[in-house]
Symmetry: C2
Subunit: 372 residues, 2 copies
């Protein structure tokens, strides 16, 4: 059964809705910021998992995109995207085989490396297929997740350069641990401090290898801060497209109480399905449609309400009011700005695109579930 | 590219693996428990989201299945399942239309109701289509989520009975809040106490309406406890098929430190993709493949290790050791028992089925993402 939907109020819930006017302003704003500082934009697709939106980012001026996983790159190549960087190491023989198959289709595909054993395995596999591949050295700037620490980075860079089938194109230095620091000034200081080591590494490599031109860094939380770092060549920002309650709550250059540079374009619609109690009502979005991470979502419709969402099991949420105002009635639809948006998006198969109250189309979340 | 996989060690990660021998023992054990007490089994499919496994539960003796959402019921009907109960209210006109379309294909479909407005809307929609539908009265036994409180239940039952197109088949009384109480004795007392009101409601309704025969209750945590309640006619247990770290940690009748009735059949495989630091390694399963809810997952392969998993962002996890023993090397694959299994399953598209180390097939998680 297909229902022709025309208005937001016709949509079945829970579902994800994109305000296209806001989304387009966010895309323009970030591109203008990068352009203004002479930086490239290579947005991270792990946030939105949508090849249609990735193409829109390219149209807006991005030079390429980032993904976290080989399976994401696979879907993007099939959708016609090029210049893809995989931002995590690919280490097992099976996954390296898949990576190299993809490289055959998309010769500009790049991957990060952080370990001698990985460098050897990758180079050997490329030799077998008669291919070469661009790689970035993943430099750990204090996130303590993947990457090599700056003191060990030059030795590893040397190992890459010594391999016939790897082309060292630059470095990646993702400071994930500073992106959500509340105070803008503290975030700025932390960002600059933690990038210092990576900057030195990059300068040294580039001095002896002029083809090493890429310094890929930043997230949404430091997008304007890293514009001041001359060595950084590109921004791998993700969440700015949609924003989420977690990012909206941090300070920005113009307002230390909230992040005003981008506006929330993504909303989750949820319906009141039980209203038998004083003090709360139950809605149809729970753990499986609103990922429990990064604090609470924000209720934005009804506007200016004192309503608060909290999770209540896999399929349900609970709505209460902080000022004892009237609760929404049975069948009412609420709009929420998600908390940490990335994992919530990964729970859905499509976005409904809206302009005002009208639904103007859908985009498949075609990279949903691409975790391999 | 399709790789013919024969062994677990050939699987790309992260992925979900089902140990079929353990799964079959869990199915038999639960069915035998229900049969022994003269109860029906109506397992909750929201846990596994898989029509192939639902059919296996029916083959093993279940009389039907539960789902939380209309879209889940839709997928199951298409897969040939019958006798489906939707365990949450369906309240909006659009969703009621979808429900009634499905009823046309599957006349035994039932739904719970908990509100006069919903009863009226449902009855009117059924009248329009010339259909009637079996419903269960959802009784809130203290979970405080959906359902009507026992003092108001009889009046609502009367309203259902007065409607020409609704057939009151019985009640649902899900005590979700007691399922994970650590102490078996406390859980037993709490379960009996909270069901008392529902039992009285059920007796009263049945006294005047002999066709009201269904009392649907329980979860995995109280499966054996509710067998003692004469009025309960069927168990809507879910997690017993797979078990998870959250359930394995609660006490059971035979062992107050762990849940020994069922064994863990579901495992998540994850690979070490970075190993540059003393004290931890990084694996390829993060928030998007291992849902952060219900405590930490258990590392079970390597066996008897002191390894601990913790989330580290959308795509990564961190493995540490509590006894400073050696950490797994780059490329090693670990097997985890997930924490709260339901939302993690909803992140994947298929299960790999194994017997010992051999991969013997796959099952699509065809209800994945059915949140509407």
């Amino acid at each position: 059964m297909t229902i022709k939907v025309k208005y937001k109020s016709d949509l079945d819930t829970p579902c994800l809705v994109l305000d296209m006017d806001i989304l387009e302003r966010n895309l323009e704003m970030m591109q203008a910021a990068a352009d203004g500082a002479g930086k490239n934009l290579r947005p991270h697709v792990k946030t939105h998992k949508c090849s249609s939106l990735a193409l829109k980012q390219i149209e807006a001026g991005a030079i390429g995109v980032c993904v976290a996983k080989v399976s994401e790159a696979d879907s993007l190549v099939k959708a016609g995207l090029d210049n893809i960087l995989i931002t995590g190491p690919v280490v097992t023989p099976g996954k390296i085989e898949r990576l190299i198959d993809l490289l055959g289709l998309s010769p500009n595909l790049m991957v990060v490396v952080d370990h001698p054993a990985n460098i050897e395995l990758l180079d050997t596999a490329l030799y077998t297929k008669g291919l070469s591949m661009g790689v970035l050295l993943d430099v750990d700037v204090g996130l303590n997740r993947t990457g090599v620490r700056p003191p060990d980075a030059l030795a590893l860079a040397g190992q890459i350069v010594s391999r016939a089938h790897l082309r060292l194109r630059g470095i990646q230095a993702y400071a994930g641990h500073v992106q959500h620091i509340q105070s803008y000034d503290t975030r700025k200081q932390s960002s600059h401090r933690c990038l210092e080591g990576a900057v030195r590494v990059f300068r040294e490599i580039r001095a002896s290898l002029p083809t090493c031109t890429i310094f890929s860094a930043s997230g949404t939380g430091t997008f304007d801060i890293v514009l001041e770092v001359a060595e950084i060549s590109e921004l791998q920002v993700g969440s700015y497209v949609f924003m989420d309650a977690e990012y909206l709550a941090i300070g920005s250059a113009d307002d230390d109480t909230r992040f005003v540079s981008f506006a929330p374009a993504l909303r989750l619609l949820t319906t009141v399905i039980s209203a038998n109690h004083k003090g709360f009502v139950t809605v149809d979005a729970g753990l499986k449609s609103l990922y429990k991470d990064g604090g609470k979502p924000q209720v934005i419709i009804p506007e200016d309400s004192a309503l608060v969402y909290d999770w209540f099991g896999d399929e349900y949420g609970r709505i209460t009011s902080t000022d004892n105002s009237e609760l929404p009635s049975l069948g009412s639809v609420l709009e929420l700005v998600t908390s940490h948006c990335d994992p919530t998006i990964n729970l859905f198969d499509k976005y409904y695109l809206t302009r005002g109250q009208e639904v103007v189309g859908t985009w498949p979340i075609d990279l949903r579930g691409c975790s391999q």
